[in-house]
C-alpha cells in the first residue's frame, strides 16, 4: 500500500530527471540538484544513447 503512494513521487523524480519539470519534487536530495550531478547524469544518458544507437545498422557479420 505504501508503495502506491510512492508512485507519484517516483513519477515526479523521473520527470525532473528527464527535464520535464524545472523544480525537483519535495524530498529530492538537494545534493543531486547541483550542476556537477547534471553533468554526470548527462554522461549516463550519452552513454546509454551511444550503446543503443546502432540498432538501425544492418548487421550481417556480427563477429567484431
Amino acid at each position: 500500500m505504501t508503495g502506491m503512494f510512492r508512485i507519484p513521487y517516483l513519477q515526479r523524480v523521473m520527470e525532473y530527471l528527464a527535464g520535464e519539470i524545472d523544480a525537483p519534487p519535495e524530498g529530492f536530495p538537494v545534493a543531486l540538484t547541483n550542476f556537477q550531478f547534471w553533468g554526470l547524469w548527462w554522461c549516463i544518458l550519452v552513454g546509454v544513447i551511444y550503446i543503443f544507437s546502432g540498432q538501425s545498422s544492418k548487421f550481417i557479420y556480427i563477429d567484431f
Binding site: 500500500m1 513519477q11 530527471l17 527535464g19 520535464e20 544518458l45 543503443f52 544507437s53 540498432q55 538501425s56
Partner: protein
C-alpha cells in the same frame, strides 16, 4: 528518423536556437520561419519526396499568405479549412480512398504511383485548421505574418508535434526568455532523455515487435504472443513520447515552452483518462474541433455515443490511411462510449479503494494494448494473431 541525425542538431537546432537568442525581438519570428524553411527543404530533399517533396514548402508559403485574410465569421476561413483538408486528402488519403473503389492499383485510375507525404503533413494541417477555425470564431488574434510563419514553420514540432495552438504560442514567441541557462539545462536534458528512451527502450523492443507478421505469428510459441503485443504497446508509447521529449526539449532551447504530449497514460484507471494523458495535443484538438462542434456531451445520450465514435474514427484515420487504423479508432470510440455509460449509470460512484482501482487500471491497460493489434498489423494479420492467441 530526423531527431536521431547529427544534421538536425548541428545544422538546425543549435544554430537556430543561438540566433534566436541573440537576435532582437522583431527579428526572432523570422529566424524561426527561415530556419523552418531550410529544415523543411533539407529533410524533404534528403529523406522524403526529393525535389517534389521540397516544393511542398509552397504549401506553407501559400498558407502564410491566405491566413492574412482570415477574419471573424469570414468565408475565407472556410476556404482555408477546405483547402487544408484537400491537401490531406490528396497526399495522404488519395490512394486509400480510391482503393476502396478500385482495389487493384493497376486498375485504379486515381492511383498515385509515386505517392509521398510532405514532411509533417499530419501535424501542420491540423495547425492550419485550428488557426482558420479559431480566427473564424474570433478565438485568436491574427498576429503578423512573421509570427504566423514562425508558428507553422517551428521545426522542433513540425515533424511529430505536439500540435500547437496559436494563442498559446504567440505570447511565448513574443516573450523575452529570462533564464537561458535554465532553459539550456532543461532543454538539453530533455533532448538527451528522449534520445535515450528512444534508443534504449523503443528500438530495443523492436526485437520483439518485428515479429508481428503472419509468418512469425504462425510459427511462434503461443506464450510469446502476448509479450510481443505488450512490447508494441510499450514501444509505441516510449517512441512517441521520446519524439515529444526531443521536440519539447528543442523548443525549450529557444526559450519557448510547447505543450506536453504525454502524462503517464498507462497509469490511468479508465479509457477516458487515458485519452486525456495520451497524445494530449491531438486529443484536445479532436475535442475542440470535432467532438464539441458535433455537440459534445450537450446532446442526447445516443448522440454523445455517436460523437465519440465519429471523433475516434477521425483519430484512427488521422493515424494512418488504412482500414486497420479505422478499426483501431472505432474500437477506442466504443471503449469510450462504454466507459461513459458505466460512469453515468444510476448510482455509479468512482471508487477510491485500492482493489477496484487496480482492477480498473488492469482492464484499461489490457484493453488499450489489445487494441494496438489493429494499429500495428493489417486486419487480416491482427485477426490471425488473436486466433492464435486464443485458440492456438
Amino acid at each position: 528518423m530526423i531527431f536521431n541525425t547529427w544534421d538536425y542538431y548541428v545544422l538546425f537546432l543549435v544554430p537556430a536556437a543561438l540566433c534566436f537568442r541573440l537576435a532582437r525581438a522583431s527579428v526572432r519570428p523570422w529566424i524561426i520561419a527561415f530556419s523552418g524553411c531550410l529544415f523543411f527543404l533539407y529533410f524533404s530533399l534528403t529523406q522524403l519526396g526529393g525535389a517534389i517533396g521540397a516544393a511542398c514548402l509552397l504549401i506553407f508559403l501559400w498558407e502564410s499568405f491566405i491566413s492574412r485574410f482570415y477574419k471573424p465569421a469570414s468565408w475565407i476561413c472556410w476556404v482555408g479549412v477546405v483547402q487544408t483538408i484537400l491537401f490531406l486528402v490528396v497526399f495522404k488519403y488519395r490512394n486509400f480512398l480510391s482503393g476502396l473503389i478500385w482495389p487493384v492499383p493497376q486498375q485504379n485510375p486515381l492511383y498515385w504511383r509515386n505517392a509521398f507525404l510532405p514532411l509533417g503533413i499530419s501535424f501542420f494541417t491540423f495547425e492550419f485548421l485550428h488557426y482558420a477555425w479559431d480566427r473564424y470564431r474570433n478565438k485568436t488574434e491574427t498576429g503578423n505574418v512573421g509570427e504566423y510563419m514562425a508558428f507553422i514553420l517551428f521545426f522542433p514540432t513540425m515533424v511529430a508535434g505536439p500540435i500547437k495552438r496559436y494563442q498559446d504560442f504567440l505570447p511565448k514567441l513574443r516573450a523575452i526568455p529570462e533564464d537561458w541557462v535554465l532553459d539550456a539545462q532543461r532543454g538539453f536534458t530533455r533532448v538527451l532523455a528522449g534520445l535515450a528512451k528512444k534508443f534504449a527502450i523503443a528500438d530495443l523492443l523492436t526485437a520483439y515487435t518485428n515479429h508481428l507478421n503472419i509468418a512469425d505469428i504462425a510459427q511462434a510459441h503461443r506464450a510469446i504472443l502476448p509479450l510481443w503485443l505488450l512490447a508494441y504497446g510499450i514501444k509505441i508509447y516510449v517512441d512517441f513520447s521520446a519524439y515529444s521529449d526531443i521536440a519539447v526539449g528543442s523548443a525549450r532551447l529557444f526559450g519557448i515552452k510547447v505543450p506536453e504530449n504525454f502524462d503517464w497514460p498507462y497509469f490511468q484507471t479508465n479509457i477516458t483518462d487515458f485519452w486525456r494523458h495520451w497524445h494530449i495535443s491531438l486529443s484536445s484538438w479532436l475535442l475542440d474541433y470535432v467532438f464539441i462542434p458535433l455537440g459534445g456531451s450537450r446532446v442526447r445520450v445516443p448522440r454523445i455515443y455517436a460523437n465519440l465514435l465519429v471523433t475516434m474514427f477521425i483519430s484512427g484515420l488521422w493515424h494512418g490511411a488504412g482500414l486497420n487504423f479505422i478499426v483501431w479508432g472505432v474500437l477506442h470510440g466504443l471503449m469510450l462510449a462504454v466507459h461513459r455509460w458505466w460512469r453515468h449509470r444510476p448510482g455509479a460512484v468512482p471508487s477510491a479503494q485500492f482493489l477496484p482501482r487496480a482492477f480498473s487500471w488492469l482492464v484499461t491497460f489490457v484493453a488499450v494494448n489489445l487494441a494496438w493489434a489493429f494499429f500495428c498489423m493489417d486486419i487480416h494479420t491482427a485477426l490471425f494473431y488473436f486466433r492464435r492467441l486464443i485458440v492456438g
